[in-house]
């Protein structure tokens, strides 16, 4: 190995630890970490060299319940039986899986969206849930509607992140209506007043330029979608 190669490896490893690689570069570096002993050693060196900078941050306890929320997210990702606080959600996911299996073939494309034609009972439900996913993949976002409060909240359950130069924008689509923007979905989630009836409402997330669609209508591909269903 030449000295230049050595320096390149070190510089890449340094930028990996520093955090300045873009998303693609970081993914490539992580793949290399498991296959290239020289690169792994270079990363180990930087982890040790730069760690004193992390030590300069005064420790802060995360809020109570953080560990429990992490464990619930692990449960959700693994699909194991629920902890109590996610029972509702899990039931909804099962239900969603069933209905998706039943009506999957009936899915119709409307304005580029996957709209699942789902018969939702018009009962007075207090809560609705939607699991947003890309076709056949694991759930990526979970949306809940609190009917009493008239709010819609959405949270991320997967590790999916929007490409660095894109934003995730959430759309609510009533049957036969144009999609209405519900705002950008950041990692911390999103909470909004819901003006539409949650019954039959489809939620979709599209990839948009940073800051959202410039036109007020979706301009990028729909990456995740799902339909609200009542929880029991």
């Amino acid at each position: 190995m030449t000295e230049t190669d050595r320096d390149d490896i070190d510089a890449l490893a340094g930028e990996y630890v520093l955090g300045t690689l873009d998303a693609d570069e970081r993914r490539a570096a992580e793949a290399r970490l498991s296959s290239d002993a020289g690169f792994r050693a270079a990363v180990a060196g930087w982890l040790s060299h730069l760690q004193p900078l992390a030590d300069t941050a005064t420790p802060i306890e995360p809020p109570d319940g953080t560990l429990e929320r992490v464990l619930a997210r692990i449960d959700l990702a693994q699909g194991v039986p629920a902890a109590t606080n996610v029972v509702e959600l899990r039931r909804s996911i099962r239900r969603w899986r069933m209905t998706t299996a039943i009506v999957g073939a009936a899915a119709a494309a409307l304005a580029g969206f996957i709209v699942v034609d789902l018969a939702v009972p018009p009962a007075e439900q207090s809560e609705f849930v939607a699991v947003l996913t890309s076709e056949g993949a694991a759930p990526k976002f979970v949306a809940t509607v609190d009917v009493a409060k008239g709010t819609l909240s959405i949270r991320q359950v997967g590790q999916e992140t929007a490409p660095p130069d894109k934003s995730y924008e959430l759309w609510a689509i009533e049957p036969g209506q144009a999609p209405k923007s519900m705002g950008l979905v950041e990692q911390a989630g999103l909470s909004r007043i819901l003006e539409q009836s949650p019954a039959d409402l489809t939620l979709a997330i599209s990839l948009e330029p940073p800051g959202g669609s410039p036109t007020g209508a979706p301009t990028g591909p729909v990456v995740f979608s799902g339909t609200l269903v009542p929880t029991e």
């Binding site: 520093l18 990363v43 180990a44």
Partner: protein, 176 residues
């Protein structure tokens, strides 16, 4: 080792690991993300990644906390990059006491000389270069954000960062 037990799916070990490390990781995350809700979500994401990747860690990577810190900082950086650029925000300024704390042997605990040594090598870098390295590490700035803040092309920022890292490494290595 805790991480090996976590890799085997041991939730008790994960709880112990969380108890020992969460205040430190949350500190790094909060420094990158000014927003409390975003920081709380990022630290959850960090522990989710630690759970998922615990099997990737081995002693060849050094100390577990440094590896976990990097996972947490990356999770925070991912969240920050989904938000607006922060160049004009108040966060554009580094904590003025940062270098003093770094140079204080008490800060780095059992690795007494590591902080002062890094501090003196950072001091040797030209001020803008030092600022770029510190903003990237401590506040999670991207090359693009650094390019705007320091009014340089992105490609130049990348070159500067890499040269600065090489200079740091040479300086740190000289004293081994």
């Amino acid at each position: 080792m805790l991480l090996a037990r976590v890799a085997a799916g041991d939730r008790g070990a994960f709880g112990v690991l969380y108890g020992r490390t969460s205040a430190k990781l949350f500190a790094s995350v909060c420094r990158i993300l000014g927003n409390q809700a975003a920081a709380e979500d990022a630290v959850q994401e960090a522990y989710l990644r630690i759970w998922n990747r615990a099997g990737d860690f081995d002693a060849g990577l050094g100390s577990p906390i440094a590896w976990m810190t990097t996972i947490a900082r990356h999770a925070a950086i991912d969240a920050a990059r989904r938000g607006p650029e922060r160049v004009s925000a108040a966060s554009a300024e580094l904590d003025p006491e940062l270098m003093d704390r770094l140079a204080d042997p008490a800060t780095t605990g059992d690795r007494l000389s590591a902080g002062p040594r890094l501090a003196s090598c950072l001091e040797r870098l030209e001020a803008d270069r030092r600022g770029m390295v510190l903003l990237a590490y401590c506040q999670g700035w991207s090359r693009e954000e650094l390019a705007r803040r320091f009014d340089r092309p992105v490609a130049t920022v990348k070159t500067i960062l890499r040269r600065s890292l090489m200079a740091l490494k040479e300086c740190l290595g000289d004293r081994d």
